[in-house]
């Protein structure tokens, strides 16, 4: 009944492989810049990964990854088109819906979702 304008992509990955979650950070507005990129798991709460470019150039943005989720397995790649959050050694417990929120200085906030399915067993630590 409702229209959800938040696009969702479905990605399947095999446990142990790297996975790349897309998040478009491009903007058409002249003079615009990305302030923040926030990745949420299941929509809400504290982001699990953030890129804070508010007080510096976005290429020097401060990156933070939740120790209890991706920790140092995750790395944001803003130069890709679209930008991607890479995650190494994906685990079955990483299976979830992730939301990427991009806050721009000028343009409308952009939300997109990734439904990540992880196949197979993994026992890596």
């Amino acid at each position: 009944m409702f229209f959800f304008s938040v696009p969702i992509v479905h990605i399947e990955a095999v446990a142990g492989d790297p996975v790349y979650l897309p998040c478009d950070i491009s903007t058409d507005e002249p003079g615009d810049q990305v302030l923040l990129v926030l990745w949420y798991r299941e929509d809400l709460g504290t982001p699990i990964y953030s890129v804070d470019g508010r007080e510096r150039d976005f290429s020097l943005a401060e990156r933070w990854s939740d120790e209890n989720v991706f920790a140092n397995r995750a790395y944001f790649m803003p130069e890709k088109k679209p930008a991607e959050l890479g995650i190494d050694h994906i685990r079955e417990t990483d299976q979830s819906v992730y939301r990427c929120r991009v806050d721009f200085k000028i343009a409308q906030t952009r939300n997109s979702k990734v439904n990540l399915t992880v196949i197979g067993k993994v026992t890596m630590y």
Partner: protein
């Protein structure tokens, strides 16, 4: 201009959205978003409609407020603040799901969203139209009544009353336009109407006429159409009993209203109501 955050809480909580459920086209409405940051600084508050942002407040940015155009939505900037966003002259396109998203500042960026649904209704000006196949009926016969409401989105609800008492709906069916043409009733249909097409509600009543239908040889049959609290119109027809039975006047003379209605409540209606909606061309 607005918030003073002090003290040392831990997280954002208690985000709540208060908006009207149904308003008229061209109304001015207020969208409220309340939240408790428990001492954390606010990074941003955003309003979305159907996933698209139309208002945001970022205290650290200059300007701290930004408004984005969406169909049917005109934000009154001078009257809006992070707690209350005022929309002027709302249009039917503004119907939809409204979401308030609040995020605390670094390092946590704790985020909560709450949403609520708004209907902006072009309220019909006309009354329902009601017809019956006979206005004089005898006990044992079946009376057929039809009632339709003017086109609206969402479609009106139709309720039937006999002598002021709601007629229990034994069955209600919804039809798509094609089903209506084929006159094949089906339980499917109509709830999906993404383009907010105005719909006519149509209800057919089959009423078994019995001894309790009439009061002093007369019965009041009423059809009422409602759309939330914004449209409440009714049509009434007085039916007459074909051959009024002689009644003990002494009993009638002393019966009060309460006694009358309890007597009435014993009567059993056998009713079939068919309510259908169809598109207006």
């Amino acid at each position: 201009m607005f918030i003073f955050f002090a003290g040392g809480g831990s997280a954002l909580k208690d985000v709540s959205v208060t908006i009207p459920t149904a308003v008229r086209v061209m109304d001015t409405i207020t969208l409220q978003c309340r939240f408790d940051l428990e001492g954390e600084p606010l990074y941003t508050l955003k309003w979305y409609k159907g996933g698209k942002e139309f208002y945001r407040y970022i205290p650290k940015e200059m300007p701290n407020t930004q408004v984005f155009a969406l169909p049917g939505i005109n934000v009154d900037r001078s009257k809006s603040n992070p707690y209350e966003v005022v929309l002027r002259n709302v249009q039917p396109e503004a119907t939809g799901k409204y979401k308030c998203e609040v995020s605390s500042d670094a390092p946590n960026f704790y985020t909560i969203m709450e949403s609520a649904y708004l209907f902006v209704i072009d309220v019909p000006v006309d009354d329902p139209v009601m017809t019956v196949d006979k206005e004089v009926a005898d006990v044992g016969s079946i009376l057929t009544g039809n009632c339709s409401t003017p086109a609206s989105y969402p479609a009106a609800n139709i309720t039937w009353y006999l002598n002021g008492k709601k007629i229990p709906q034994s069955s209600q069916r919804l039809l798509t336009p094609s089903e209506l043409q084929n006159t094949v009733p089906s339980a499917s249909a109509t709830s999906v109407n993404p383009r907010r097409t105005p719909m006519v509600a149509f209800s057919q009543l089959e009423l078994d006429i019995d001894e309790d239908t009439f009061q002093n040889g007369k019965a009041r049959l009423k059809c009422a159409g409602t759309i939330f609290h914004l449209y409440k119109r009714e049509k009434e027809i007085v039916l007459e009993e074909e051959r009024p039975r002689p009644k003990p006047s002494s009993v009638l003379g002393i019966r009060d209203a309460a006694g009358d209605s309890s007597q009435h409540s014993k009567s059993v209606f056998s009713v079939t109501i068919l309510t259908i909606f169809f598109l207006v061309r």
